[in-house]
């Protein structure tokens, strides 16, 4: 079963609040309440009922939209109280029937997206002083507790009944793979032996023991729960307000609406094209190759950001950087979920390198509160945070990316990141069609990868001199040969070799095992020390995805397969 169900559904990631089926959001000054109230009949795919606030991809797409809009449209919000509208459960986690009926690819994509959403919650807490607090007013199980773990603080109703739990191992034979295990020990720093007991106790832990083990930050009786949470939310809001006022002054932040993306779809039987204003994604199911084209800022775009934060704020969602990266983000998600046959993505960037470098500099200046006191500089910074998240999404996309620096392309500043995020960078060396490359200040930190290091540092982890030299050339426009000498290029090809060598490289790539490539790329893309976020994707997810294909989970007698059915699982006891 399963495989069919996943692929017959075309998933759209663009949402707006009027279309939410599963969430309510209430705004009250500096505090927002995000209330999960999942419509049991509102599943994305037929065949399961979303009982007890369990979720599927559709539920999480709405949550991601809420988190994103909160930052752009409601910048006045300092504390976000996450609670449940269900009278028994806070959240029962991912819907098990949904997981049981889904293909492996669907499960992996679902987990990856939900993981990214949880990281976005944390990103909002750290970077935008929007503090997420989990108000667990009922059973908080599995993915429900993992959602709470992504919040800065967790409070649990103390009614002798409500517990937090990670029942995946004992009940389902899989892992709490949405960050659960990692955040237990790496974020909340729960002692590993207690984490072991907790993660194998299906019914979980409640009350004072949950506090003692640091599974939650506090418990309150039911009658006082709302009032206590409200008070804590107000405290946190006051702290966060003081923090941002110290940086930005106390000018009230005014929200910026995110309108719908402009998308034109076309295609025939085997090719589809998704044309945005700055981005175009073309997929060919025959060759299993996609082309992702991104166009850089225009003179007018540059002029706008040079006017400073007020002008940028006034331009809102039409600002090139926000528009282009929203489009890129949507294209990447489309690629992941709706085009799973595509193995290789050819990335092509068209930009004026000098202009893009200048654009980046103007953008960073406009976001600097010291230079623009009392302005809406937060919005510009928010755009940069968004660019960073989109690029991280690309790092975490399990497709081969080749940056193709053909005639007519240019790779500057933030758009150079697309080449740095790619697995290889082919560059044309042709004096008649010069292709330029150049780094800007934005390449040196603001767009860091999920493990916290920027892509240049990662690229030159073993060549500090090379990195140092490149730092000296920051802001310069480099020719193809210079770029190659600087170590930015995988293969520099002249016009005679270009066509044939790139063709052979592409054909070779698409002939290799997609699984091996996914694993290889995930390993090679992230040199350097890990952090909590990257461990979730690298370690937890990798183990989860292995367990997902093991018979003990998904075989005919596997625990995940049989959950909810009359038969009980039978395990192959061999330790592998």
């Amino acid at each position: 079963m399963g495989d069919g169900a996943a692929q017959t559904v075309q998933v759209e990631f663009e949402k707006d609040p009027s279309s939410y089926k599963h969430w309510r959001v209430e705004y009250d000054g500096g505090i927002a309440k995000v209330i999960m109230d999942v419509d049991p009949d509102g599943g994305l795919v037929p065949g399961y009922e979303l009982k007890l606030n369990s979720y599927d991809l559709g539920v999480d797409i709405e949550l991601a939209d809420i988190v994103r809009r909160m930052r752009f449209e409601h910048p006045e919000v300092r504390t976000v109280l996450l609670s449940s509208g269900n009278d028994r459960a806070f959240c029962a986690g991912a819907n098990i029937t949904m997981l049981g009926q889904s293909s492996h690819a669907w499960k992996v994509n679902f987990c990856k997206f939900t993981n990214e959403t949880r990281c976005e919650l944390e990103d909002a807490t750290h970077n935008s002083a929007q503090i997420y607090v989990a108000a667990c007013n009922g059973t908080t199980a599995g993915g429900g507790y993992e959602l709470a773990l992504a919040c800065k603080e967790i409070y649990l109703q103390d009614d002798g009944n409500s517990a937090v739990s990670l029942p995946e191992v004992p009940l389902l034979g899989v892992l709490p793979g949405t960050g659960g295990l990692t955040r237990l020990v790496d974020k909340r720093k729960i002692r590993r032996d207690l984490a072991d007991v907790f993660s194998t106790t299906a019914e979980g832990v409640r009350g004072s023991k949950a506090v003692k083990w640091n599974l939650v930050d506090g418990v309150f009786p039911r009658s006082k729960f709302d009032a206590k949470l409200q008070a804590r939310a107000a405290e946190l809001a006051a702290e966060a307000t003081a923090q941002i006022n110290a940086q930005d002054g106390d000018t009230p932040r005014q929200g910026v609406a995110l309108g719908r993306l402009q998308i034109e779809l076309s295609g025939d039987g085997t090719t589809t094209s998704r044309q945005y204003t700055c981005v175009k994604l073309e997929c060919d199911t025959n060759t299993r190759i996609a082309t992702l084209k991104v166009r850089g800022p225009s003179e007018a775009d540059l002029a706008l950001v040079r006017e400073g934060p007020a002008a940028i704020h006034a331009a809102g969602d039409s600002v090139w950087a926000l528009r282009a990266y929203r489009e890129l983000d949507d294209a990447l998600l489309q690629l992941r979920v709706n085009h799973i046959g595509i193995g290789l993505v050819l990335v092509e960037v068209e930009c004026d390198v000098a202009r893009t470098i200048a654009y980046d500099q103007a953008l960073l200046d406009a976001g600097d509160p010291a230079k623009h006191p009392g302005s809406q500089a937060w919005f510009t910074r928010e755009i940069v945070f968004f660019m960073a998240r989109t690029l991280r999404r690309m790092d975490l996309t399990s497709r081969s990316f080749f940056a193709i620096g053909a005639a007519g392309t240019g790779w500057g500043g933030n758009l150079l990141e697309l080449a740095l995020a790619s697995d290889r960078f082919y560059l044309l060396d042709d004096p008649d069609s010069p292709v330029q490359v150049g780094a800007s200040e934005i390449n040196w930190g603001p767009l860091a990868m999920s493990h916290g290091h920027h892509r240049l540092a990662v690229r030159f982890i073993g060549e500090p001199d090379q990195l140092e030299a490149l730092r000296g050339m920051n802001g310069e426009v480099l020719g193809a040969e210079q770029a190659d000498e600087a170590g930015l290029v995988t293969m520099l090809l002249d016009d005679i070799d270009w066509d044939d060598d790139t063709r052979v490289a592409i054909e070779e790539r698409v002939s290799l095992s997609p699984d091996a490539l996914t694993g290889m790329e995930a390993n090679l893309r992230f040199p350097g020390p890990e952090n909590c976020d990257s461990k979730i994707f690298a370690r937890l997810t990798a183990w989860q995805n292995w367990i997902f294909i093991r018979p003990n989970a998904t075989g005919p007698e596997g625990a995940l397969t049989l959950y909810g059915r009359p038969e009980r699982p039978r395990f192959d006891w061999e330790r592998v």
Partner: protein
């Protein structure tokens, strides 16, 4: 109270579980006992602690030991711990994948959490009902009824003991923590409610008490009977013994309701307009609403009609079907389905559920059949009184808060209806606050031996052969 010596404790607690020689168990109970007595004083029957009550005490499991009658003050009641004796050869896993293998005498690690959950959920209902009923002594319709109430209360207390014994004996520190929690939750408390819904409903007067003992305790009977088929031998034997006491509670409920019904029929005849209320009795519409209310809340106690837990518990041999060994040959029940109407697109559609997942519904069916028997008796009593009224059970879909019908609206016949229709009729179908006001207004205590309140008929016979005018409670 000071800590008891082992000798004291063993004498105080009648048991057949070797308490005298079990240091670990004794130590656990020694710590728990003072808290239990404190709970009993706070939450047990109010204001009657010093009154001798004609109570039955189980002092051993032998035929002459399980029903020992005497006047006892309730706090001095000897709450005992008993396992039903059983032939070793019959102690086998009775259901599920391992049916036929020897039963577990110790908790198997893999099922420890499930078993603890089953036991805690069952245990939590025992003190809950005592809490719900604590004020009823003040409006008892007779000393006979008061005695029955207190008998039920002390036995629910003993059932708590029985479950606490299992937690203390077999579940280590967690078990002791859970046993403490059982004394911390309170029926209807907004912060620490009892686990199951029906046990947080108020029980303000004797009609509710009788209905509770009739319908809600009867759920207990079927849960206990299912646990008596457990492969965990101590649980099976404990619950088997509890069933003998539970039978008396059901008797109190069923005959209490029947005596009210009988009396109402008599009052209807007495009144020139056939108006039961004009005669200070309980009219049949109100009785029917009471049945509708308590029956449906009690159905919720069976859990969801389609349940993974039920399948798991059965599959792993922890909880069987009603009379698993007597009624069934195939104890694995791996094939087979159960047909259940589901709401889909605004209509009821039959669906076949794998049998193991439908075991809550199956147990509930046994319960409904048992309730129907009582209804037939009541209707026969009405017939005997020459009354044309007949009482009925509502559909199992009506007024549900658990399972597949929760969130949908049905009339008592089980037909899907609109919210408008439900709202317009619910005062005819379910108890309303005015019902309570009326019932409390007529429930004045009757403390004179042999006398009964006007709204209830005397029982056919007394307790243990005693006459109706016997002083069941010495006030």
């Amino acid at each position: 109270m000071t800590a008891s010596t082992s000798v004291d404790l063993n004498a105080k607690i009648p048991n057949n579980v070797g308490l005298a020689d079990d240091t670990k168990l004794r130590r656990a109970l020694e710590q728990w006992l003072p808290n239990y007595l404190e709970w009993w004083n706070d939450m047990g029957p109010s204001d009657f602690a010093d009154k001798p009550v004609y109570l039955r005490t189980a002092t051993s499991v032998s035929t002459d030991g399980w029903a020992h009658y005497d006047h006892v003050r309730m706090p001095d009641y000897r709450w005992g711990i008993f396992l039903n004796p059983r032939e070793a050869s019959t102690s086998q896993i009775r259901c599920g994948d391992d049916a036929g293998k020897p039963a577990w005498t110790e908790v198997p690690g893999e099922f420890r959490n499930s078993l603890r959950r089953i036991i805690v959920t069952q245990a939590d209902t025992e003190p809950a009902s005592v809490e719900q009923q604590r004020l009823l002594g003040h409006m008892a319709p007779s000393l006979y009824d008061m005695r029955n109430l207190f008998q039920v209360n002390v036995e629910e207390g003993r059932h708590l003991w029985a479950m606490v014994y299992l937690l203390h004996k077999h579940f280590g520190r967690d078990g002791r923590d859970e046993a403490d929690e059982l004394l911390n939750r309170r029926s209807g408390d907004v912060d620490k409610p009892r686990i199951l819904g029906a046990f947080n409903q108020p029980c303000d007067h004797w009609l509710s008490f009788f209905a509770f003992a009739m319908f809600t305790d009867r759920d207990g009977k079927f849960q206990l009977a299912a646990l008596a088929e457990s492969g965990f031998d101590p649980l099976a034997r404990t619950t088997e013994f509890m069933l003998t006491e539970e039978a008396h509670h059901l008797f109190v409920g069923q005959t209490g309701m029947q005596r009210i019904i009988q009396r109402s029929a008599q009052l209807q005849k007495l009144d020139p307009n056939g108006d039961v209320r004009a005669q200070g009795g309980i009219d049949f519409d109100l009785i029917q609403r009471t049945i509708n209310y308590w029956f449906t809340y009690s159905l919720d106690l069976f859990g969801g009609e389609v349940s993974n837990n039920a399948a798991d518990f059965f599959g792993s041999g922890l909880k069987g079907r009603y009379r698993e060994m007597k009624k069934y040959d195939d104890h694995k029940a791996i094939g087979g389905t159960y047909r259940l109407p589901h709401v889909e697109g605004g209509v009821l559609v039959d669906k076949d559920i794998p049998l193991r997942n439908a075991l809550n519904a199956l147990l509930r069916d046994e319960y409904v059949a048992d309730c129907e028997k009582a209804l037939r008796k009541w209707n026969k009593a009405l017939e005997a009184e020459g009354c044309s009224v007949r009482l009925t059970l509502p559909s199992t879909r009506f007024h549900r808060h658990q399972g597949i019908y929760a969130g949908h609206l049905f009339n008592p016949a089980g037909e899907l209806i609109s919210e408008q229709e439900f709202e317009a009729n619910k005062h005819r179908w379910l108890l309303v606050p005015e019902d309570n006001d009326y019932l409390i207004s007529i429930m004045k205590p009757v403390y004179e031996p042999g006398k009964f309140a006007n709204w209830i008929a005397p029982p056919a016979r007394g307790i243990e052969g005693q006459p109706a005018e016997f002083e069941y409670v010495r006030l």
